[in-house]
Symmetry: C2
Subunit: 313 residues, 2 copies
């Protein structure tokens, strides 16, 4: 069946969830229609606020996402959620989106939740995620939440493309926080200590605050200082504080011209992913690679010279 | 201090662990010397057998690796281990190699263990891992074992570049095996049910055997049927069976001309990663990307057209 991209984009714009889902599938599959979809979506985008949410397994990301959705819906905002699955044969990540969808927000037409997987393609998520954000943006979702299980650098990179990035932790991670220091300091705009009724929650919050103050010593000039918000997402405790911190950060971004900077950064990542995908498909289009690979495997050619031949046949 | 690549490669070839470590660091950092290193190593390689080992967290990969090393050392083979760390800010993966190194094989000069991380670079592991294998191969290690914590597709891709890939499981994973079906069926040459003294081990082995028989229905022609080996790595139980299965698989690969096919496949992945890295550095060399990104962020240009401009300025 031929695909009418213009009609699909129109239907998505009118808020039809099936059209939104179909468009996301097409960008995820890197469909031959990708180009026309991307071009059709571009002028319709730029309005949505993009939130990133990440954290180690077991801190309650799904519950926090669900609580956030409830709070944002209460003020009338439409929410799109992209749950990034690193597509491991071992993780249960693919079920994340389904798990949320099944529960609190299953019947709400103004909440769209979707799991995304890489299918093993190099740069797959880097390519598909910004386009899926565009689909949701064009479809009029006010807030787009990108959630990852936070297992690999590429997932962290993706979530850090958001306007505001939330890093969730929970008490009792112990060494986890120590190990995580470098990585999370860089990407977190807001820290959330979830399950804060558990023993050690205050200590975790204090450790984070201390860590943030250490990290700031090297910084000159005005910079956002990540707040540490304590929540119990399961009972919606602290979620209003969290929403308020998100709003404060957004206002800060706007005041300091950081919002444009972040969106330019996101656009750069998007352009580069598209360019690399185009170049990659050119590399494998010809029959040059198999021949070169045989010579390299046989030891008759070094791989760098082979790479040169591949680029300039 | 200038780096004398020729001298380093000579020292690595003579079995000096410090030179081996230095070369791996250089390929991992994508040093400006990468090209001369790769070219110098190429003629010295092709002798080592490459094993891949993966599996979900908690199945005993470190213990199994250690037991395998002991068994291979007992027959006089020199072993190089690359422990792939997906470089998550949340995983403790970086400690994997250290954990093994600290224990059983710390004082053995014929065992070299190294953790590798991506440092967030796109295609980082895809680029560095085959080159690190070349370093160890040139340094005369008979067996190179690539171990991953198996959390993401890219790590699975890397481990599947091995001559022989072992997938470790343990009893009690339950749904894990169901979820893992598709992914592990494709890459496993040998299944290992570790911790086989635990309840449910026989059932896990039976489930795997059943799964393998189902997977074979679609296959025509001769094909390797992955054996299911039961082990208790902590007590070295079943490790001789495992080594014997590895040898049988290697013999099968050679008989069926599959060894060359796999090495050609590995070379192709290597060439492609080098070519993409070269193209990527070209893309970001110029000042074109920031300008294009601003236009895309402002909605004045669609990202696909921007990608075209980036490729053909």
């Amino acid at each position: 069946m031929p695909i009418d991209v213009t009609a699909l984009v129109e239907q998505a714009r009118a808020g039809q969830p099936l059209a939104v889902a179909r468009l996301i599938s097409l960008v995820e599959e890197a469909s031959p229609h990708l180009r026309s979809i991307v071009t059709a979506l571009a002028p319709l985008t730029g309005r949505a606020r993009v939130l990133g949410l990440t954290g180690p397994p077991g801190v309650g990301k799904s519950t926090a996402t669900s609580a956030l959705i409830t709070a944002l819906r209460a003020r009338g905002q439409r929410i799109g959620v992209l749950a990034i699955d690193p597509s491991s044969p071992f993780s249960g990540g693919a079920l994340l989106g389904d798990r949320i969808r099944m529960h609190d927000h299953a019947t709400d037409p103004d909440v769209f939740i979707r799991s995304m997987a890489t299918r093993g393609q190099l740069g797959g998520l880097a390519l598909a995620t910004p386009q899926a954000v565009r689909v949701l943006d064009a479809a009029g979702y006010d807030v787009i939440l990108i959630e990852t299980v936070g297992v690999g650098q590429s997932e962290v990179d993706i979530v850090s493309l958001a306007d505001t990035t939330l890093v969730l932790l929970a008490p009792g991670l112990g060494d986890g926080i120590q190990a995580a220091k470098a990585g999370i300091l860089e990407i977190a705009d807001i820290f959330v200590v979830n399950k804060s009724d558990r023993p050690g929650a205050d200590q975790t919050a204090r450790d984070l605050t201390h860590m943030i103050s250490l990290g700031r010593k090297e910084i000159t000039g005005p910079r956002w200082r990540p707040p540490v918000i304590s929540t119990i997402a399961a009972t919606h405790t602290g979620i209003d504080d969290l929403v308020s911190a998100i709003d404060t950060h957004h206002a800060w971004l706007t005041t300091h011209a950081e919002l444009d900077a972040r969106r330019t950064h996101r656009a750069a990542a998007e352009i580069e992913a598209l360019a690399l995908a185009t170049l990659r498909s050119r590399l494998t289009e010809t029959n040059t690679l198999p021949n070169l690979a045989e010579q390299v495997a046989a030891g008759d050619l070094d791989p760098y010279t082979a790479a040169d031949h591949l680029i300039n046949p």
